[in-house]
Amino acid sequence: MTLAIENSSPAATKSRWARLGRTLRGLFSTSLATSALRIRLVALLFLGLYGLVCGRLVYLGLKPEPANLRRAAADAVAAARPDLLDRNGEILATDVKTMSVFAEPRRLSDKDEATELLTATLPVDAKQLRERLGSRKGFVWVKREVTPHQRDEVFHLGLAGVGLLAENKRVYPNGPLAAHVLGFADTDNIGVAGIEKYVDGQGLANLHGAGFELTAETLQPITLSLDLKATHAVRDELAKGIEHFKAKAGAAAVMDVNTGEVVALASLPDYDPNGSPNIRDKELINRLNVGIYEMGSTFKALTIAMALDSGKVNLNSRVDARSELNVGRATIHDYHAMHRVLDVREVFVHSSNIGVARMALGLGVEKHKAFLYKLGQLTRMRTELPESAEPMWPRKRWSEISTATIAFGHGLAVAPMQAMMAVGALMNGGYLITPTFLKRSEEEAKKNAPQVIKPETSEAMRCLMRLNAEMGTARKVNVPGYFVGGKTGTAEKSIHGHYVKNRLFTTFMAVLPADKPKYLFLTLMDEPQGLPETHGEATAAWNSGFVTGEIIKRVAPILGMPPRADPTEPFPTLAKLGYGCSVTPAAASASAAGAH
């Protein structure tokens, strides 16, 4: 604003001073007339300044906290997972805080010394550690999950650039119990299998990825359908059975037929999810969900239900089982041939292959296929568990022979859990309810469940199951007080495309109580051996049936079902329709030895 002018006269200087004075006066004058513009200018300046300050404040307010070490490490730290509880609130999986040692290589002054000190206190490989510390990363793990003692020692080393971080470690207090359902989480607490993986798939992983800090308090525990104590009892009885019958493997499950909840599940051999199990091992698969097997005679229930539901056959219908049945090149014969005409009850009770093959052929290949499709036996069944298996059936050509053999459970391999779903539908009044491993109510389960057979067909099937337990092949499970119904299933294992007589796969399904079904029990055994007390027999009734009986005796009270007197009129609809639920005594005694 002042001008520097060199050669100037005194007069000019004087007038210049005066002008300067005027300018200054004008600048500081508050008279609007002389300085309105300038005041406005100054006001604008201050406005701008304050605006800047305000803007900065808002910016700082909105900006996330500056990234400190803890934040940077948050990605590396094992995230919190929700607790998994059984249906009664017992813990199946939970998080425990552990300490882990980390290092910031950039802040380490002497890496060799640090390596030396750390290897002296922690069980880590010196060479690997030196390599990691030499990296240019900002953050490396030295050792995960150290003991409290090691933690203190590392703390006392006082190394700059080495620190401790609290982490979540997943623990499964019950060890191998229900391991196939729970799956497990790896060191980074990411679900690798089972429900753990399912939980991650439900958005937990996404939340972690988006940077939400999830703590145990913000996560709601997940309640499974399993009953811890029942699961233990089932596993214990199954293990005893497998040892006793020298089977290669086995599995057992209990399902609530009205809700589809799997209340107990055990598949042996199993693994401890607390270690780092090798789930690729074929022997350790969940045989109920991942394994597919020919279910044998258990499938006869499906065939008979189809025949009854079609209306062409009723309980009193008679089927010719006098001689072997020839279909194309194949000959179908009975394990315990009766050589006479049987009614539908007898076909089921004597487990007649010829009888059910005739029934299926009577309806035709297409209807048979459509029925199995409707019951979900030809498509992959999906539960919450990420592991599942595609059923195996003659996709290219479903011939008459296929129908005849599938009628008694050969030629179609399904996951046992899938067969449970179908048999459950035959029992519960006809609702096809997909099994679940999460707790749910009956209304919820039946909301989306299609009705696949008529309620009266279901009642007829329950009558057949009950008859079979009373006098047929399932007598081993006729636990007094529970009005049990059951069906055996023995399949010869197919090895290199041939069925081998002495290598059996035995299954057993039992429902209780047969009048108002609640629980469906399944036991299966892979290559059980005949024993002296079973007269060398290794068919389902002797081993899987026996084990199912033991399981029922032990588990039913745990599940809150006290024994009761048998119902006087268990099948009212059948009685109204005029069908009795009994077999002539002669036929019953004839079946005494039958166990197929």
Partner: protein, 139 residues
């Protein structure tokens, strides 16, 4: 007058400043306390988590079964031991054979005036000879 006013305003200012500082210090003190309490809560919660896990580990059915097999005389619950309330017979009328005999002899009237039936050792017998009564299954 002005001087007094000035003096007063200076005093008020000092007072206000002092008050503001106390409030500020109080606040930061409380904040610290809250942070400490939160840390303590977190530590407690972690501790509870560990204890819960430990409890679940120690009470896992497999272990309990092993311990009970080794140290207890208890056997597995058999179905015959379960009965419903309706299955229990009514309590038998008070039967005290010795007392009756004493009464008959006309001796004990004075010493035992009308023996309290509730205190009498009634021995209800369940049907089927099962003497133990278990309503709740082992849970």
């Amino acid at each position: 007058m002005t001087r007094l006013f000035n003096l007063l305003s200076v005093l008020v200012l000092l007072g206000a400043a002092g008050y503001a500082y106390t409030v500020k210090y109080e606040t930061s003190f409380r904040t610290e306390q809250i942070a400490k309490a939160k840390l303590e809560i977190k530590a407690e919660q972690d501790g509870i988590g560990v204890l819960r896990a430990e409890w679940a580990f120690l009470t896992r059915p497999e272990r309990i079964q092993k311990l009970s097999e080794r140290y207890l005389d208890l056997g597995p619950l058999s179905l015959a031991q379960i009965d419903s309330f309706s299955g229990i017979p009514e309590r038998l009328p008070h039967a005290d054979a010795i007392g009756d005999k004493i009464d008959l002899l006309g001796l004990g009237v004075a010493s035992t005036p009308s023996a309290d039936p509730a205190a009498a050792p009634a021995t209800p017998r369940t049907k089927g000879g099962a003497s133990t009564k278990t309503t709740a299954p082992a849970r």
